[in-house]
Symmetry: C2
Subunit: 387 residues, 2 copies
């Protein structure tokens, strides 16, 4: 194509740029976060008026108070101790109000909150980065859910090549935890980068990944679902009601297998979930022992019914475990961090499976009930699927 119109245009756009908002870091030489050579990280906030500035991040234990930042020449600063390579989320507290770091444009949504993202380098986070490799597509897709009487939304990852060929693919269903939604695995779990990178390296098979919304009262994530004053309010009771679990089996899987080019046998279906999603994974595979050949239960075990005041039909559960054992899944994986508050529930789940004779693989990581572990588990498990 010949370029006929030769407008030397740079100054025009200087004007246009001036009319868009400029960011704080473009106006000020504030760098935050700054990853230092000794693996500490320095955070900075410029404000003359504030009386108190703190930082709170996921490198800190859950109940630890936020760390005070120190003021010098109107710049408030805090430097962490040495941090392991990981993806962290953090916010500042400015005069008691939780705010984002104005110098960091990387923000993700965690439920109804927004947090800054910080990824420190090293082997542990090598698979989290967007690299110059073939990328899959990520689609926000609506599907009918007769089970829940709604149109509902999910995210669907199709691997590199899906648009270019006519191949069929296996499908991984990835379930999130309480407080999350269909955005969680991509925003906080780095699922797209992990899959892109593992596939590019030949470590994982090409697969479709389906990330559902596990809250049965919700059509889609906040502010993206239809406004409906009559909609059911979020409630904890509905989460354990099998309503989402039933909709995954009756609505989601048939939609995916009809609308995408998928294999449709159990050896080409996997399901992984953490926390609430780990319980849903148990529920779904207990009730449908021949649906998935690959099952991963992350950071969730058997409920402590005595402590929780819940009822539990041990005999029915035994029958389910026996049926699952007979179905011989190629992988039944259980993983949890040593410091997870649900650790003992996993001890109990393993004891039940041992008693009933269900074979499983057990992995114990460091750490607690965190995205750091769930990303790690996905990175470990994706290469094991469909082989």
């Amino acid at each position: 194509m010949k370029i006929n119109l030769r407008i030397k245009i740079s100054q025009v756009f200087l004007l246009l740029f001036a009319c868009t908002h400029l960011t704080a870091q473009q106006r000020k030489p504030i760098v935050s976060p700054q990853i230092n050579a000794d693996n500490t990280v320095t955070f900075r906030l410029l404000t003359k008026l504030a009386t108190k500035v703190e930082v709170k991040g996921t490198w800190m234990p859950v109940n630890m108070p936020s760390s005070p930042m120190v003021k010098e020449d109107s710049v408030w600063t805090y430097t962490t101790g040495k941090l392991d390579a990981d993806m962290y989320r953090y916010t500042f507290l400015l005069d008691g109000v939780e705010i984002l770091d104005p110098a960091n444009s990387w923000v993700e949504r965690a439920g109804v909150r927004h947090e800054n993202i910080l990824i420190t380098g090293g082997d542990r986070t090598n698979e989290y980065a967007v690299k110059d490799v073939p990328h899959g597509s990520l689609s926000k897709v609506w599907y009918p859910s007769p089970t829940l009487h709604m149109k509902r939304r999910m995210y669907v990852y199709t691997p590199p090549g899906y648009l270019e060929n006519n191949n069929k693919y296996p499908v991984l269903y990835l379930l999130h935890g309480a407080g999350g939604d269909e955005n969680s695995w991509t925003a906080l779990g780095r699922a797209v980068s992990i899959l892109d990178n593992l596939i590019a390296e030949g470590k994982a098979k090409e697969m479709i990944v389906v990330m559902t919304n596990g809250n049965p009262w919700q059509a889609a994530s906040p502010n993206e679902e239809p406004v409906n004053p009559d909609a059911e309010k979020p409630n904890t009771a509905s989460m354990g009601s099998m309503r989402f679990e039933n909709s995954l089996v009756a609505d989601v899987i048939p939609f995916i297998e009809k609308r995408y080019r998928t294999y449709t046998d159990k050896n080409n279906r996997a399901i992984l979930g953490f926390s609430m999603g780990g319980l849903q994974t148990q529920h779904i595979t207990n009730a449908n022992p021949n649906l998935f050949a690959y099952i991963g239960v992350m950071s969730m075990g058997l409920m402590d019914n005595d402590r929780m005041g819940t009822t539990y039909n041990k005999e029915e559960h035994s029958q389910q475990i026996k049926a699952l054992s007979k179905a011989s899944p190629k992988l039944y994986w259980i993983g949890i961090g040593k410091d997870d508050f649900l650790y003992s529930s996993v001890v109990n789940l393993r004891k039940r499976y041992d008693d009933e004779g269900l074979k499983y693989e057990y992995f114990e990581s460091t750490g607690a009930h965190t995205w750091s572990n769930w990303s790690l588990y996905l990175d470990m498990l994706a290469p094991r699927l469909f082989k």
Copy 2:
């Protein structure tokens, strides 16, 4: 499916919920923003320590100072005058630091900044809402760009039914302005809701909408492109260089027409762009007069070359306009707000087209160089396409 495992689970999830972060508005009875019956809007922020709190929003003229909020019992409050029905973006200034409203979970990214979203009701914003209608899918898709020597990303909207049938569709290419990227039209322009709603009402034809990244130095939006220390830095000069324009013609259109079910004639291609994207729309259609039957130039006219110090080959431009006129596009639309800082450039563009005999339709709205106008123009123009 029979439900065999009957765990009364609600209390379990109360514990799980307690372990997730709770939002400020869940802890406190702060409502913000609150749309009042008289069409004013009240903003609130709870903080005991702050010395100064202000609000800044897109209902205010560009150069207007932020509005001070007033403190009463630790709650800082500001109520606007009557606001027209519109989608607004706003932030607070807390002791001089730009922050998000902790009580409003609706946040979108505008370039490298994040802002809260507020949509006031009424006819004007009726098409912006997510409604209980069939929804199209929105996909983040990577494509090869030999022209720009990169893998690049775009957003592709496929209309309701695309996954269910084998129909072919016409394609609308939507271009954004300086400071934006492939996320802008969906995050700030409500493109998905506008298309979903117009299609559901039978006002617009089903179409694929392609939203590109118009910055030729950028593979994808911030924090979603590969880390590349050698990458070209953002620069204004490259924006008018025809590099993006050439890549749209050579890379994007062939990819879309090969990988999606599209019609491939000019009567089934439309291009609309605003500001920088309006200039790119002119460049692309000037150089390729037979590519698009529907052309919309929003909030951008002819450069004031004397003032900007740019060069301009009037004779070549004349030849291009004549060729375009001969190609007889079904619609050549020019729109701008009365208060737009580029208003005179549109006066000049119209004069050139009048002098050269190119037929166009002109629409003048109220308002300035704003998303309010670009969403309005899309809502007006989408029903005119492919008919």
